[in-house]
Symmetry: D2
Subunit: 206 residues, 4 copies
C-alpha cells in the first residue's frame, strides 16, 4: 500500500468532483421529461394505481431510496425483489432504471410489464438504448455508466477533458440519487405536503 504522501488527490477533491458534477448535470436534465414523469406519478394517486420500481446493483439501491420516499408521500409503491410485490396490471406504472440501458434483468422485467399493459418509464443515460426503446417515457439522467463508452459525450461536456476520478457508474448513480430526491421535493410541492406529513409514514421500528 502506497504511503499517503504520494497521493495525487485529496479526499475533499473527490467529494468536490462528485458534487460539482451533479450540480452541472442538473443543467442537462430536461424539464419537459421531468414534468411528464411527475405527472405520470401523480396520476397513479388519482387513479389508484401501483408503481413498481425495477433496477439492479447500485442503480437499484437509488430506486429503493426513491421508493421509500414515494411511500412516505402516500404512493402505492413496490420494489421488484422485495418480499411484498403484488401483481401489476394494465395502467400501473413501472420505473425501470439502468444507466447503460442494456441491463438484461431490467429489460426482461420492462418487457413483461409492457405485455401486461403497464406504463414503462425508463431512467437511463442513453436515449438509443434497448431499455429506452421499449419505454413509454424516457428521462435522461446524465452520467458515466459502468459500461465505458467512447461517446460519453455528456460526461466530457461536464467534466472537461480530464478522466473522472470516480470509478465505473459512480457519477450516474449519485446523480440519480440527487435526481430522485429532487423529484421528491417537487412532488411535495405539487401535493402541498410538508415534512411532518412524510414523518407520519416513516417506519417506527428500526
Amino acid at each position: 500500500m502506497s504511503s499517503k504522501n504520494s497521493n495525487k488527490y485529496s479526499f475533499k477533491q473527490f467529494m468536490k468532483e462528485i458534487s460539482e458534477y451533479v450540480c452541472k448535470a442538473s443543467d442537462m436534465i430536461n424539464d419537459y421529461e421531468v414534468d411528464k414523469f411527475t405527472n405520470i406519478l401523480l396520476e397513479t394517486l388519482q387513479n389508484n394505481k401501483k408503481i413498481l420500481i425495477v433496477g439492479t446493483g447500485r442503480s437499484g439501491l437509488a430506486g429503493k431510496a426513491f421508493a421509500m420516499r414515494l411511500m412516505h408521500l402516500g404512493f402505492n409503491v413496490y420494489v421488484l425483489g422485495d418480499t411484498i410485490t403484488p401483481a401489476i396490471y394494465g395502467g400501473d406504472v413501472v420505473i425501470a432504471i439502468s444507466g447503460s440501458g442494456i441491463t438484461r434483468l431490467v429489460i426482461t422485467a420492462a418487457s413483461t410489464a409492457k405485455e401486461i399493459g403497464a406504463k414503462v418509464i425508463a431512467i437511463t443515460s442513453y436515449r438509443d438504448s434497448p431499455l429506452a426503446k421499449i419505454a413509454d417515457h424516457v428521462v435522461i439522467v446524465p452520467g458515466r455508466t459502468k459500461i465505458a463508452r467512447e461517446n460519453d459525450y455528456t460526461v466530457r461536456q461536464i467534466l472537461g477533458e480530464h478522466e473522472p476520478l470516480a470509478p465505473l457508474g459512480t457519477l450516474f448513480e449519485i446523480t440519480l440519487n440527487v435526481f430522485f430526491d429532487s423529484l421528491v421535493s417537487e412532488l411535495m410541492q405539487r401535493l402541498g405536503k410538508t415534512e411532518e406529513d412524510l414523518k407520519k409514514r416513516h417506519t417506527t421500528i428500526e
Copy 2:
C-alpha cells in the same frame, strides 16, 4: 394537486441545493477521522479480517452501495440482513451507520459486535449520540437527519438561515453516499487499483 405554475422552486433548484450542500459539507469532514477510517479498512486486507456493514432505511442503502464497491476492491465485506452474512469475530470491523446515532437496531447490532470483540466504526452526524459513544472510532458526516433537532448547527452553517428544501434525512443520506464514494476513490488511490481492476469483480449476471 396545485398547478405547476404556483410552484415556488424549480426542479433544478432542488438539484442544486442538494449538490451545493454536499460540496460545502465536504469542507466539514475531518481529514484525520477519514484517514484513520481508511487505515482500519486497509488493515482488514492485511490481517484477512471481515467488514460488516450495518444500517437501516436509506442510510442502510448507502451502506450497501459502499459494500458493493468494497467487494469490487477485494475487501471481505458483508451486509447485515443479506442472505450471506457469516460469523463476525474479534478483530473484524463493523461499520455502523445512523445519522441520528439513536437507531435502536443499529445500536443493538453494534453492542453485540463490541461484546464479540469486533472494532466498531460509527458513521453519524452526532458525536455525543449513543452510537458514537460505544464506537471505537467515529466519523462525523454532517447533515440534517430525520430526527429534527434544534441544534442542527452544522446544517445551518452550510445552508445559511433558510430551511432546507429536501425533507427529513435527505441531506445526510446524499452526503453519506458521496462520502462513501469518495472513500472508494481514496482506497483505489492507496491500493493503486484501477477501474479495470474493479470491473473484473463487478457482477456479470444482471
Copy 3:
C-alpha cells in the same frame, strides 16, 4: 471427501426424517393458540390494521414466505428489512419469530412495537424465553433451534432418543414453514377464498 459407499444414511432417509418430524410435530401444536392467532390476523382485515413480520436468518425467510401468502389473501402485510415498511402504530400486529426466543434484533424490534402500542405475537419454541415474555400472544412451534439446549424435551419426544440428522435449527425452520402454510389454508377456509383469488394478487413480473 469420503466416497458415497461409506455413507451411513441415504438421501431419502434425510427427507423422511424431516417430513416425519413435521408430521408428528403437528400433534404438539396447540389448537387454541392457533385459533387465537388466526383471529388476531382476521381482525386486522376488519379494523384496517397492518401486520409487520420480524425475523432473522432462516426463520426470517419462513416469515417472508408467509408474508407473500398473506398479501395474496389481501392482508396489509409488511416485512421488517424490506424497502417498503411503513410506520406501525397502536392496534397494528407484529409477528416476531425466533425459535430460541433470544434473538436480540427480534427482541429489540418487538420491544419497540410494544412501546408503540402494537400487538406482539411471538412464534417460538420456548414459552419461558425473553421474546415470549414480552408478547401479547405466544404460539409454540416445536423444533430444535440453533441454540442447543439440554432440555430439548419436545424434540426427543418426537424423534425418540436418536440425535436428529438435520443440523442446527433445521427441524424448527421446516416445521415453521409448514405451520405458516397450514395457517394460509386455514385463513382461506375461514375467508372463503379460493386459489384463483390468491392468483390474482400473485406477482406478474418475475
Copy 4:
C-alpha cells in the same frame, strides 16, 4: 367471515397433508440426479469456484435458506439480488430454481450464466421446461407449481385424486425446502462435518 365450526378441515389436517406429501415425494426424487448435483457442489470446493443461487418469490426464499447452510459448510456461495454478488465466470456453478421452469427472470439469468461459461443446474418440476432445456444438469423436485397444469401427474400420484388443500406452489416450495435441507445433511456426511463446524460460521450478530 365464516365461523370456525363450519370448517371442513382442521389445522392439523393441513399440516399432515403437507408433511405426508413431502414424505411420499421423497420417493420420487431420483438418486442419480441428487448424486450428480452433490458432486458438482463438492467440486466447487476442490476447484475454488463460486456458487450463485437464482430464484424468485417463495422458491427464491428456499434457495436463500439453502445458501445460508452452504455458507455454514464453507462453500463460496452467493444469491442473485443480495448486495454482495461478485462476478461469475466460466467453471462457476449457477443453481437456477423454478418449479414451473418458465420464470422469465430466472431463465434470463440462467442464459447469461451459460454464455459466460458457468455450469447451470436447474431445480424444477418439469423436465421439458425452457429452464430445464438450457441447464447442464436437471434435478426434478415434484410438486404442484403455481402454474396449474392439467398434467400435474406426479402430484396426483402422490395425493391420489383429491385436490390439494395447499394453494398454488406450496407443495413444491415445501418439498424444495426439505430437499435442500436433506442435501445439507448429505453434504455434511460426505465432508465429515459436524453441527459444531457449521455453528462456527453461523452469524453472530442477529
